[in-house]
Symmetry: D2
Protein backbone atom coordinates (compact mmCIF):
# COMPACT_ATOMS: atom_id res chain seq x y z
CA UNK A 1 0.00 0.00 0.00
CA UNK A 2 1.31 3.42 -0.92
CA UNK A 3 0.55 5.83 1.88
CA UNK A 4 -0.33 9.51 1.78
CA UNK A 5 1.94 12.00 3.59
CA UNK A 6 1.33 12.25 7.31
CA UNK A 7 -0.37 15.54 8.20
CA UNK A 8 1.07 18.04 10.69
CA UNK A 9 -0.74 20.37 13.09
CA UNK A 10 -0.31 23.49 10.95
CA UNK A 11 -2.67 22.00 8.33
CA UNK A 12 -5.66 22.36 10.67
CA UNK A 13 -7.50 25.47 11.83
CA UNK A 14 -9.83 24.44 14.67
CA UNK A 15 -8.90 22.29 17.66
CA UNK A 16 -10.98 20.20 20.02
CA UNK A 17 -9.97 17.73 22.70
CA UNK A 18 -11.65 14.39 23.28
CA UNK A 19 -11.28 11.71 25.90
CA UNK A 20 -10.72 8.04 25.16
CA UNK A 21 -12.83 5.32 26.82
CA UNK A 22 -11.94 1.91 28.17
CA UNK A 23 -14.22 0.25 25.62
CA UNK A 24 -12.35 2.02 22.77
CA UNK A 25 -9.38 -0.31 23.17
CA UNK A 26 -10.03 -3.46 21.16
CA UNK A 27 -8.59 -6.96 21.36
CA UNK A 28 -5.18 -5.72 20.19
CA UNK A 29 -4.97 -3.23 23.06
CA UNK A 30 -5.34 -0.03 21.03
CA UNK A 31 -8.19 2.28 20.15
CA UNK A 32 -10.34 0.54 17.53
CA UNK A 33 -10.29 2.04 14.03
CA UNK A 34 -14.00 2.88 14.14
CA UNK A 35 -13.57 5.24 17.11
CA UNK A 36 -11.60 7.69 14.95
CA UNK A 37 -14.79 8.21 12.95
CA UNK A 38 -16.74 8.86 16.17
CA UNK A 39 -14.28 11.66 16.88
CA UNK A 40 -14.49 13.06 13.33
CA UNK A 41 -18.29 13.12 13.58
CA UNK A 42 -18.08 14.77 16.99
CA UNK A 43 -15.50 17.36 15.97
CA UNK A 44 -17.48 18.49 12.94
CA UNK A 45 -20.90 18.54 14.58
CA UNK A 46 -19.57 19.94 17.86
CA UNK A 47 -18.00 22.82 15.94
CA UNK A 48 -21.22 23.44 13.97
CA UNK A 49 -23.24 23.50 17.22
CA UNK A 50 -20.69 25.80 18.85
CA UNK A 51 -20.99 28.21 15.91
CA UNK A 52 -24.81 28.25 16.30
CA UNK A 53 -25.13 26.84 12.78
CA UNK A 54 -26.55 23.43 13.61
CA UNK A 55 -29.54 22.87 15.90
CA UNK A 56 -29.57 19.08 16.22
CA UNK A 57 -33.05 18.87 17.68
CA UNK A 58 -35.08 21.41 15.76
CA UNK A 59 -33.18 23.21 12.97
CA UNK A 60 -34.75 23.24 9.49
CA UNK A 61 -31.60 21.80 7.95
CA UNK A 62 -29.46 18.91 9.08
CA UNK A 63 -26.10 17.74 7.77
CA UNK A 64 -25.89 14.13 6.58
CA UNK A 65 -22.68 12.20 6.07
CA UNK A 66 -22.21 10.96 2.49
CA UNK A 67 -18.54 9.95 2.49
CA UNK A 68 -15.74 9.42 4.99
CA UNK A 69 -12.21 8.05 4.90
CA UNK A 70 -9.30 7.63 7.29
CA UNK A 71 -5.62 6.61 7.13
CA UNK A 72 -4.02 5.25 10.28
CA UNK A 73 -0.34 5.88 11.09
CA UNK A 74 0.16 5.30 14.82
CA UNK A 75 -1.86 3.54 17.52
CA UNK A 76 -3.70 5.38 20.30
CA UNK A 77 -4.48 3.88 23.68
CA UNK A 78 -6.98 4.53 26.47
CA UNK A 79 -6.65 6.44 28.79
CA UNK A 80 -4.74 9.05 26.78
CA UNK A 81 -6.75 12.10 25.66
CA UNK A 82 -6.46 13.20 22.03
CA UNK A 83 -6.57 16.40 19.99
CA UNK A 84 -8.68 16.67 16.84
CA UNK A 85 -7.77 19.21 14.18
CA UNK A 86 -10.38 20.37 11.69
CA UNK A 87 -10.23 22.34 8.42
CA UNK A 88 -12.47 22.79 5.40
CA UNK A 89 -10.92 21.23 2.28
CA UNK A 90 -13.68 22.05 -0.19
CA UNK A 91 -16.92 23.98 -0.01
CA UNK A 92 -19.66 23.21 -2.55
CA UNK A 93 -23.21 24.45 -3.14
CA UNK A 94 -24.79 22.21 -0.54
CA UNK A 95 -21.85 20.09 0.59
CA UNK A 96 -18.62 20.54 2.47
CA UNK A 97 -15.53 18.33 2.64
CA UNK A 98 -13.64 18.55 5.95
CA UNK A 99 -10.10 17.42 6.67
CA UNK A 100 -9.64 15.78 10.06
CA UNK A 101 -6.40 15.08 11.94
CA UNK A 102 -6.12 12.98 15.10
CA UNK A 103 -3.10 13.83 17.26
CA UNK A 104 -1.58 12.50 20.44
CA UNK A 105 -1.25 15.42 22.88
CA UNK A 106 2.14 17.08 22.42
CA UNK A 107 2.98 15.49 19.06
CA UNK A 108 3.36 17.22 15.71
CA UNK A 109 2.47 14.42 13.29
CA UNK A 110 -1.05 13.02 12.96
CA UNK A 111 -1.72 9.56 14.38
CA UNK A 112 -4.51 9.36 11.82
CA UNK A 113 -6.03 11.66 9.21
CA UNK A 114 -9.05 11.60 7.02
CA UNK A 115 -11.89 13.36 5.29
CA UNK A 116 -15.55 13.75 6.13
CA UNK A 117 -18.20 14.99 3.66
CA UNK A 118 -21.46 16.54 4.82
CA UNK A 119 -24.42 17.41 2.64
CA UNK A 120 -26.86 19.93 4.03
CA UNK A 121 -30.44 18.68 3.63
CA UNK A 122 -33.93 19.72 4.61
CA UNK A 123 -34.80 17.92 7.86
CA UNK A 124 -38.11 16.59 6.57
CA UNK A 125 -37.59 15.90 2.87
CA UNK A 126 -33.90 15.00 3.31
CA UNK A 127 -33.23 16.72 -0.05
CA UNK A 128 -30.07 18.87 -0.43
CA UNK A 129 -30.49 22.59 0.23
CA UNK A 130 -28.19 25.47 -0.69
CA UNK A 131 -25.84 26.32 2.10
CA UNK A 132 -26.97 29.51 3.91
CA UNK A 133 -24.63 32.54 4.03
CA UNK A 134 -24.03 31.99 7.77
CA UNK A 135 -22.72 28.48 7.10
CA UNK A 136 -20.67 29.62 4.11
CA UNK A 137 -18.99 32.43 6.04
CA UNK A 138 -18.11 30.21 8.99
CA UNK A 139 -16.86 27.36 6.79
CA UNK A 140 -14.73 29.75 4.68
CA UNK A 141 -13.16 31.07 7.87
CA UNK A 142 -11.65 27.64 8.57
CA UNK A 143 -10.69 26.81 4.96
Amino acid sequence: VSRETRAVRSEFNVWQSFTTRWADNDAYGHVNNTVFYQWADSAVNGWLVGQDLLDIESGDSIALVVETRCSYFAPLTFPEPIDIGLAVAHLGRSSVRYRIGVFVVGTEQAAAQGEFVHVLVDRTSRRPVEMPQSWRRALESIS
Copy 2:
Protein backbone atom coordinates in the same frame (compact mmCIF):
# COMPACT_ATOMS: atom_id res chain seq x y z
CA VAL B 1 -40.93 2.25 40.30
CA SER B 2 -39.62 3.53 43.58
CA ARG B 3 -36.44 5.46 43.01
CA GLU B 4 -33.33 5.79 45.12
CA THR B 5 -32.29 9.25 46.35
CA ARG B 6 -30.38 11.30 43.81
CA ALA B 7 -26.70 11.58 44.74
CA VAL B 8 -24.90 14.90 45.20
CA ARG B 9 -21.28 15.81 44.46
CA SER B 10 -20.11 15.57 48.08
CA GLU B 11 -20.69 11.80 48.01
CA PHE B 12 -17.78 11.30 45.59
CA ASN B 13 -14.04 11.58 46.17
CA VAL B 14 -12.33 11.50 42.79
CA TRP B 15 -13.33 13.51 39.71
CA GLN B 16 -12.70 13.01 36.04
CA SER B 17 -14.09 14.79 32.98
CA PHE B 18 -15.22 13.05 29.83
CA THR B 19 -16.40 14.27 26.47
CA THR B 20 -19.60 13.19 24.78
CA ARG B 21 -19.66 12.03 21.16
CA TRP B 22 -22.14 12.60 18.36
CA ALA B 23 -22.85 8.88 18.16
CA ASP B 24 -23.76 8.84 21.89
CA ASN B 25 -27.08 10.56 21.17
CA ASP B 26 -29.64 7.93 20.26
CA ALA B 27 -32.93 8.12 18.36
CA TYR B 28 -34.54 10.11 21.19
CA GLY B 29 -31.86 12.81 20.96
CA HIS B 30 -30.10 12.11 24.26
CA VAL B 31 -27.04 10.16 25.31
CA ASN B 32 -27.93 6.46 25.17
CA ASN B 33 -28.15 4.61 28.51
CA THR B 34 -25.28 2.29 27.63
CA VAL B 35 -22.80 5.17 27.33
CA PHE B 36 -23.02 5.82 31.08
CA TYR B 37 -21.46 2.41 31.60
CA GLN B 38 -18.66 3.28 29.17
CA TRP B 39 -17.89 6.27 31.39
CA ALA B 40 -18.05 4.21 34.60
CA ASP B 41 -15.63 1.69 33.11
CA SER B 42 -13.35 4.49 31.97
CA ALA B 43 -13.45 6.39 35.27
CA VAL B 44 -12.54 3.31 37.33
CA ASN B 45 -9.85 1.97 35.00
CA GLY B 46 -8.48 5.42 34.21
CA TRP B 47 -8.07 6.09 37.93
CA LEU B 48 -6.40 2.68 38.47
CA VAL B 49 -3.96 3.37 35.62
CA GLY B 50 -3.28 6.88 36.95
CA GLN B 51 -2.46 5.42 40.38
CA ASP B 52 0.03 2.98 38.76
CA LEU B 53 -2.06 0.08 40.06
CA LEU B 54 -3.30 -1.32 36.78
CA ASP B 55 -1.07 -2.10 33.82
CA ILE B 56 -3.62 -2.96 31.12
CA GLU B 57 -1.13 -4.53 28.76
CA SER B 58 1.21 -6.52 30.97
CA GLY B 59 0.32 -6.50 34.68
CA ASP B 60 0.04 -9.87 36.47
CA SER B 61 -3.46 -9.04 37.70
CA ILE B 62 -6.38 -7.57 35.83
CA ALA B 63 -9.72 -6.36 37.16
CA LEU B 64 -12.85 -7.96 35.69
CA VAL B 65 -16.35 -6.54 35.93
CA VAL B 66 -18.80 -8.87 37.70
CA GLU B 67 -21.75 -6.57 38.36
CA THR B 68 -22.91 -3.09 37.37
CA ARG B 69 -26.05 -1.04 37.80
CA CYS B 70 -27.25 2.47 36.99
CA SER B 71 -30.25 4.71 37.77
CA TYR B 72 -31.05 7.51 35.35
CA PHE B 73 -32.52 10.82 36.54
CA ALA B 74 -31.89 13.42 33.85
CA PRO B 75 -30.93 13.27 30.17
CA LEU B 76 -27.51 14.28 28.85
CA THR B 77 -26.87 15.52 25.33
CA PHE B 78 -23.91 15.75 23.00
CA PRO B 79 -21.90 18.01 22.79
CA GLU B 80 -21.94 18.78 26.52
CA PRO B 81 -18.96 17.45 28.53
CA ILE B 82 -19.67 15.59 31.78
CA ASP B 83 -18.07 15.08 35.18
CA ILE B 84 -17.75 11.61 36.69
CA GLY B 85 -17.46 11.22 40.46
CA LEU B 86 -15.95 8.07 41.93
CA ALA B 87 -15.83 6.59 45.45
CA VAL B 88 -15.26 3.17 46.95
CA ALA B 89 -18.44 1.81 48.58
CA HIS B 90 -17.08 -1.53 49.77
CA LEU B 91 -13.67 -3.18 49.74
CA GLY B 92 -13.49 -6.98 49.97
CA ARG B 93 -10.70 -9.55 49.87
CA SER B 94 -10.37 -9.60 46.10
CA SER B 95 -13.24 -7.35 45.03
CA VAL B 96 -14.20 -3.71 45.23
CA ARG B 97 -17.56 -2.02 44.79
CA TYR B 98 -17.36 1.53 43.41
CA ARG B 99 -20.05 4.20 43.47
CA ILE B 100 -20.27 6.28 40.30
CA GLY B 101 -22.02 9.60 39.76
CA VAL B 102 -22.54 11.28 36.39
CA PHE B 103 -22.98 15.05 36.57
CA VAL B 104 -23.69 17.83 34.13
CA VAL B 105 -20.94 20.45 34.52
CA GLY B 106 -21.99 23.03 37.13
CA THR B 107 -24.83 21.00 38.64
CA GLU B 108 -25.04 19.54 42.15
CA GLN B 109 -27.37 16.56 41.63
CA ALA B 110 -26.36 13.50 39.67
CA ALA B 111 -27.90 12.98 36.23
CA ALA B 112 -27.27 9.29 36.81
CA GLN B 113 -25.68 7.15 39.49
CA GLY B 114 -24.67 3.56 39.86
CA GLU B 115 -22.34 0.90 41.12
CA PHE B 116 -19.53 -1.02 39.48
CA VAL B 117 -17.96 -4.16 40.99
CA HIS B 118 -14.45 -5.30 40.04
CA VAL B 119 -12.84 -8.59 41.00
CA LEU B 120 -9.08 -8.71 40.81
CA VAL B 121 -7.94 -11.85 38.98
CA ASP B 122 -4.74 -13.42 37.74
CA ARG B 123 -4.32 -12.41 34.08
CA THR B 124 -3.71 -15.96 32.90
CA SER B 125 -5.86 -18.19 35.10
CA ARG B 126 -8.57 -15.52 35.54
CA ARG B 127 -8.97 -16.77 39.17
CA PRO B 128 -9.50 -14.18 41.97
CA VAL B 129 -6.37 -13.03 43.78
CA GLU B 130 -6.06 -11.22 47.09
CA MET B 131 -5.86 -7.49 46.62
CA PRO B 132 -2.26 -6.24 47.08
CA GLN B 133 -1.49 -3.69 49.81
CA SER B 134 -0.87 -1.00 47.19
CA TRP B 135 -4.42 -1.46 45.81
CA ARG B 136 -5.91 -1.63 49.30
CA ARG B 137 -4.23 1.59 50.43
CA ALA B 138 -5.29 3.52 47.32
CA LEU B 139 -8.87 2.21 47.41
CA GLU B 140 -9.21 3.00 51.13
CA SER B 141 -8.07 6.55 50.43
CA ILE B 142 -11.17 7.13 48.27
CA SER B 143 -13.64 5.24 50.49
Copy 3:
Protein backbone atom coordinates in the same frame (compact mmCIF):
# COMPACT_ATOMS: atom_id res chain seq x y z
CA VAL C 1 -19.21 -10.41 46.56
CA SER C 2 -22.19 -12.70 46.99
CA ARG C 3 -23.61 -13.59 43.63
CA GLU C 4 -27.18 -14.18 42.55
CA THR C 5 -28.14 -17.55 41.09
CA ARG C 6 -27.30 -17.98 37.43
CA ALA C 7 -30.43 -17.94 35.28
CA VAL C 8 -31.39 -20.75 32.91
CA ARG C 9 -33.21 -20.60 29.57
CA SER C 10 -36.59 -21.67 30.95
CA GLU C 11 -36.85 -18.40 32.89
CA PHE C 12 -37.28 -16.40 29.67
CA ASN C 13 -40.22 -16.21 27.27
CA VAL C 14 -39.03 -14.40 24.15
CA TRP C 15 -35.83 -15.09 22.22
CA GLN C 16 -33.80 -12.98 19.86
CA SER C 17 -30.37 -13.55 18.32
CA PHE C 18 -27.70 -10.90 18.00
CA THR C 19 -24.32 -10.81 16.35
CA THR C 20 -21.13 -9.72 18.06
CA ARG C 21 -18.78 -7.18 16.49
CA TRP C 22 -15.00 -6.99 16.34
CA ALA C 23 -15.05 -3.72 18.29
CA ASP C 24 -17.04 -5.42 21.09
CA ASN C 25 -13.92 -7.27 22.28
CA ASP C 26 -12.00 -5.00 24.62
CA ALA C 27 -8.36 -4.99 25.74
CA TYR C 28 -8.85 -8.23 27.67
CA GLY C 29 -10.05 -10.03 24.54
CA HIS C 30 -13.70 -10.48 25.52
CA VAL C 31 -16.91 -8.61 24.82
CA ASN C 32 -16.88 -5.43 26.91
CA ASN C 33 -19.39 -5.24 29.77
CA THR C 34 -21.19 -2.27 28.24
CA VAL C 35 -22.16 -4.23 25.12
CA PHE C 36 -24.51 -6.44 27.18
CA TYR C 37 -26.59 -3.33 27.82
CA GLN C 38 -26.67 -2.57 24.08
CA TRP C 39 -28.20 -6.02 23.59
CA ALA C 40 -30.71 -5.55 26.44
CA ASP C 41 -31.80 -2.25 24.93
CA SER C 42 -32.07 -3.84 21.50
CA ALA C 43 -33.96 -6.91 22.70
CA VAL C 44 -36.58 -4.87 24.56
CA ASN C 45 -37.08 -2.21 21.88
CA GLY C 46 -36.83 -4.71 19.03
CA TRP C 47 -39.58 -6.78 20.62
CA LEU C 48 -41.75 -3.67 21.19
CA VAL C 49 -41.33 -2.63 17.54
CA GLY C 50 -42.07 -6.20 16.38
CA GLN C 51 -45.30 -6.16 18.40
CA ASP C 52 -46.33 -2.85 16.75
CA LEU C 53 -46.35 -1.21 20.18
CA LEU C 54 -43.46 1.18 19.74
CA ASP C 55 -43.07 3.52 16.78
CA ILE C 56 -39.59 4.94 17.35
CA GLU C 57 -39.95 7.79 14.90
CA SER C 58 -43.47 9.08 15.38
CA GLY C 59 -45.45 7.33 18.14
CA ASP C 60 -47.12 9.53 20.79
CA SER C 61 -45.42 7.64 23.60
CA ILE C 62 -41.81 6.57 23.93
CA ALA C 63 -40.22 4.31 26.53
CA LEU C 64 -37.32 5.79 28.52
CA VAL C 65 -34.80 3.77 30.52
CA VAL C 66 -34.76 4.65 34.22
CA GLU C 67 -32.77 1.78 35.69
CA THR C 68 -30.62 -1.11 34.47
CA ARG C 69 -28.38 -3.70 36.06
CA CYS C 70 -26.33 -6.70 34.96
CA SER C 71 -24.39 -9.57 36.58
CA TYR C 72 -21.64 -11.21 34.56
CA PHE C 73 -20.84 -14.92 34.89
CA ALA C 74 -18.91 -16.00 31.81
CA PRO C 75 -17.04 -14.14 29.07
CA LEU C 76 -18.29 -13.85 25.49
CA THR C 77 -16.05 -13.36 22.48
CA PHE C 78 -16.44 -12.04 18.95
CA PRO C 79 -17.25 -13.59 16.47
CA GLU C 80 -19.70 -15.85 18.36
CA PRO C 81 -23.40 -14.95 18.01
CA ILE C 82 -25.53 -14.79 21.17
CA ASP C 83 -29.10 -15.45 22.24
CA ILE C 84 -31.02 -12.94 24.35
CA GLY C 85 -33.92 -14.11 26.51
CA LEU C 86 -36.57 -11.66 27.63
CA ALA C 87 -39.38 -11.79 30.20
CA VAL C 88 -41.46 -9.27 32.10
CA ALA C 89 -40.65 -9.32 35.83
CA HIS C 90 -43.04 -6.59 36.96
CA LEU C 91 -45.67 -4.49 35.27
CA GLY C 92 -46.66 -1.16 36.85
CA ARG C 93 -49.00 1.66 35.91
CA SER C 94 -46.60 3.35 33.51
CA SER C 95 -43.45 1.27 33.95
CA VAL C 96 -42.26 -2.22 33.23
CA ARG C 97 -39.31 -4.17 34.61
CA TYR C 98 -37.83 -6.72 32.18
CA ARG C 99 -35.52 -9.62 32.98
CA ILE C 100 -32.78 -10.18 30.42
CA GLY C 101 -30.56 -13.24 29.95
CA VAL C 102 -27.55 -13.41 27.65
CA PHE C 103 -26.69 -16.92 26.49
CA VAL C 104 -23.97 -18.50 24.40
CA VAL C 105 -25.66 -20.49 21.62
CA GLY C 106 -26.30 -24.06 22.79
CA THR C 107 -25.75 -23.41 26.50
CA GLU C 108 -28.31 -23.64 29.31
CA GLN C 109 -26.90 -21.20 31.86
CA ALA C 110 -26.80 -17.45 31.30
CA ALA C 111 -23.41 -15.84 30.58
CA ALA C 112 -24.94 -12.69 32.03
CA GLN C 113 -28.32 -11.64 33.36
CA GLY C 114 -29.91 -8.39 34.38
CA GLU C 115 -32.90 -6.12 34.59
CA PHE C 116 -34.06 -3.21 32.49
CA VAL C 117 -36.79 -0.74 33.57
CA HIS C 118 -38.74 1.30 31.05
CA VAL C 119 -41.14 4.12 31.86
CA LEU C 120 -43.64 5.00 29.18
CA VAL C 121 -43.72 8.78 28.64
CA ASP C 122 -45.36 11.28 26.34
CA ARG C 123 -42.90 11.99 23.49
CA THR C 124 -43.15 15.76 23.86
CA SER C 125 -43.62 16.44 27.58
CA ARG C 126 -41.57 13.38 28.62
CA ARG C 127 -44.03 12.88 31.51
CA PRO C 128 -45.16 9.33 32.43
CA VAL C 129 -48.37 8.12 30.81
CA GLU C 130 -50.57 5.18 31.75
CA MET C 131 -49.70 2.09 29.80
CA PRO C 132 -52.28 1.46 27.02
CA GLN C 133 -54.23 -1.82 27.01
CA SER C 134 -52.33 -3.01 23.93
CA TRP C 135 -49.01 -2.68 25.79
CA ARG C 136 -50.44 -4.25 28.94
CA ARG C 137 -51.79 -7.27 27.09
CA ALA C 138 -48.54 -7.89 25.22
CA LEU C 139 -46.38 -7.42 28.31
CA GLU C 140 -48.58 -9.74 30.39
CA SER C 141 -48.23 -12.39 27.70
CA ILE C 142 -44.47 -12.58 28.36
CA SER C 143 -44.65 -12.29 32.16
Copy 4:
Protein backbone atom coordinates in the same frame (compact mmCIF):
# COMPACT_ATOMS: atom_id res chain seq x y z
CA VAL D 1 -19.88 15.99 -4.55
CA SER D 2 -19.53 13.56 -7.41
CA ARG D 3 -20.47 10.11 -6.27
CA GLU D 4 -19.12 6.71 -7.23
CA THR D 5 -21.48 4.15 -8.80
CA ARG D 6 -23.60 2.25 -6.33
CA ALA D 7 -22.45 -1.36 -5.99
CA VAL D 8 -24.72 -4.35 -6.58
CA ARG D 9 -24.72 -7.75 -4.89
CA SER D 10 -22.93 -9.56 -7.73
CA GLU D 11 -19.75 -7.57 -6.98
CA PHE D 12 -19.24 -9.42 -3.69
CA ASN D 13 -18.20 -13.01 -3.04
CA VAL D 14 -18.77 -13.71 0.68
CA TRP D 15 -21.90 -12.87 2.65
CA GLN D 16 -22.49 -12.38 6.35
CA SER D 17 -25.53 -11.12 8.24
CA PHE D 18 -25.37 -8.70 11.14
CA THR D 19 -27.95 -7.34 13.53
CA THR D 20 -28.50 -3.67 14.24
CA ARG D 21 -28.69 -2.33 17.81
CA TRP D 22 -30.88 0.30 19.39
CA ALA D 23 -27.83 2.42 20.19
CA ASP D 24 -26.82 2.38 16.49
CA ASN D 25 -29.59 4.84 15.63
CA ASP D 26 -28.30 8.36 16.23
CA ALA D 27 -30.08 11.67 16.80
CA TYR D 28 -31.39 11.69 13.22
CA GLY D 29 -33.08 8.31 13.71
CA HIS D 30 -30.82 6.23 11.44
CA VAL D 31 -27.81 4.01 11.97
CA ASN D 32 -24.82 6.26 12.65
CA ASN D 33 -22.14 6.40 9.95
CA THR D 34 -19.48 4.93 12.27
CA VAL D 35 -21.43 1.67 12.71
CA PHE D 36 -20.83 0.75 9.05
CA TYR D 37 -17.13 0.54 9.89
CA GLN D 38 -17.90 -1.74 12.85
CA TRP D 39 -19.59 -4.08 10.38
CA ALA D 40 -16.71 -3.89 7.89
CA ASP D 41 -14.24 -4.74 10.65
CA SER D 42 -16.45 -7.60 11.81
CA ALA D 43 -17.06 -8.99 8.33
CA VAL D 44 -13.36 -9.09 7.47
CA ASN D 45 -12.13 -10.45 10.80
CA GLY D 46 -15.08 -12.82 11.19
CA TRP D 47 -14.30 -14.30 7.78
CA LEU D 48 -10.57 -14.61 8.62
CA VAL D 49 -11.42 -16.40 11.89
CA GLY D 50 -13.92 -18.65 10.10
CA GLN D 51 -11.20 -19.63 7.58
CA ASP D 52 -8.83 -20.52 10.46
CA LEU D 53 -6.42 -17.87 9.23
CA LEU D 54 -6.62 -15.45 12.12
CA ASP D 55 -6.27 -16.46 15.77
CA ILE D 56 -7.17 -13.22 17.56
CA GLU D 57 -5.82 -14.29 20.93
CA SER D 58 -2.60 -16.11 20.17
CA GLY D 59 -1.64 -16.20 16.48
CA ASP D 60 1.89 -15.05 15.52
CA SER D 61 0.52 -12.55 13.03
CA ILE D 62 -2.29 -10.06 13.42
CA ALA D 63 -3.92 -7.86 10.80
CA LEU D 64 -3.91 -4.12 11.46
CA VAL D 65 -6.14 -1.59 9.74
CA VAL D 66 -4.20 1.09 7.84
CA GLU D 67 -6.91 2.67 5.70
CA THR D 68 -10.70 2.61 5.43
CA ARG D 69 -13.32 4.52 3.48
CA CYS D 70 -17.08 4.43 3.02
CA SER D 71 -19.71 6.08 0.78
CA TYR D 72 -23.27 6.27 2.06
CA PHE D 73 -26.26 6.04 -0.30
CA ALA D 74 -29.32 5.11 1.78
CA PRO D 75 -30.13 5.16 5.49
CA LEU D 76 -30.45 2.03 7.62
CA THR D 77 -32.56 1.80 10.75
CA PHE D 78 -32.65 -0.40 13.84
CA PRO D 79 -34.15 -3.02 14.21
CA GLU D 80 -33.60 -4.14 10.58
CA PRO D 81 -30.85 -6.76 10.06
CA ILE D 82 -28.30 -6.16 7.28
CA ASP D 83 -26.23 -8.18 4.84
CA ILE D 84 -22.52 -7.48 4.37
CA GLY D 85 -20.81 -8.47 1.13
CA LEU D 86 -17.06 -8.94 1.02
CA ALA D 87 -14.53 -9.30 -1.81
CA VAL D 88 -10.79 -8.85 -2.20
CA ALA D 89 -9.98 -5.88 -4.44
CA HIS D 90 -6.17 -6.08 -4.30
CA LEU D 91 -3.70 -8.47 -2.73
CA GLY D 92 -0.18 -7.23 -2.00
CA ARG D 93 2.93 -8.72 -0.39
CA SER D 94 1.77 -8.13 3.19
CA SER D 95 -1.43 -6.17 2.66
CA VAL D 96 -4.90 -6.75 1.32
CA ARG D 97 -7.57 -4.31 0.20
CA TYR D 98 -11.14 -5.53 0.71
CA ARG D 99 -14.31 -4.18 -0.87
CA ILE D 100 -17.29 -4.05 1.46
CA GLY D 101 -20.97 -3.61 0.61
CA VAL D 102 -23.76 -3.01 3.11
CA PHE D 103 -27.20 -4.11 1.90
CA VAL D 104 -30.72 -3.98 3.25
CA VAL D 105 -32.11 -7.53 3.21
CA GLY D 106 -33.84 -8.18 -0.10
CA THR D 107 -32.35 -5.23 -1.99
CA GLU D 108 -29.95 -5.30 -4.92
CA GLN D 109 -28.15 -1.96 -4.53
CA ALA D 110 -25.76 -1.22 -1.68
CA ALA D 111 -26.92 1.15 1.06
CA ALA D 112 -23.24 1.88 1.59
CA GLN D 113 -19.96 0.64 0.17
CA GLY D 114 -16.33 1.06 1.02
CA GLU D 115 -12.83 -0.31 1.28
CA PHE D 116 -10.83 -1.68 4.16
CA VAL D 117 -7.04 -2.24 4.04
CA HIS D 118 -5.31 -4.71 6.35
CA VAL D 119 -1.56 -5.11 6.77
CA LEU D 120 -0.39 -8.38 8.24
CA VAL D 121 2.14 -7.75 11.01
CA ASP D 122 4.08 -9.73 13.59
CA ARG D 123 2.08 -9.65 16.82
CA THR D 124 5.02 -8.54 18.96
CA SER D 125 7.11 -6.27 16.73
CA ARG D 126 4.09 -4.98 14.78
CA ARG D 127 6.30 -4.99 11.63
CA PRO D 128 4.77 -6.16 8.31
CA VAL D 129 5.26 -9.82 7.45
CA GLU D 130 4.87 -11.57 4.11
CA MET D 131 1.44 -13.07 3.73
CA PRO D 132 1.54 -16.88 4.24
CA GLN D 133 0.39 -19.17 1.42
CA SER D 134 -2.71 -20.15 3.41
CA TRP D 135 -3.82 -16.50 3.56
CA ARG D 136 -2.94 -15.89 -0.08
CA ARG D 137 -4.93 -18.88 -1.29
CA ALA D 138 -8.01 -17.97 0.73
CA LEU D 139 -7.87 -14.30 -0.25
CA GLU D 140 -7.43 -15.15 -3.94
CA SER D 141 -10.50 -17.37 -3.74
CA ILE D 142 -12.67 -14.34 -2.95
CA SER D 143 -10.95 -11.92 -5.36
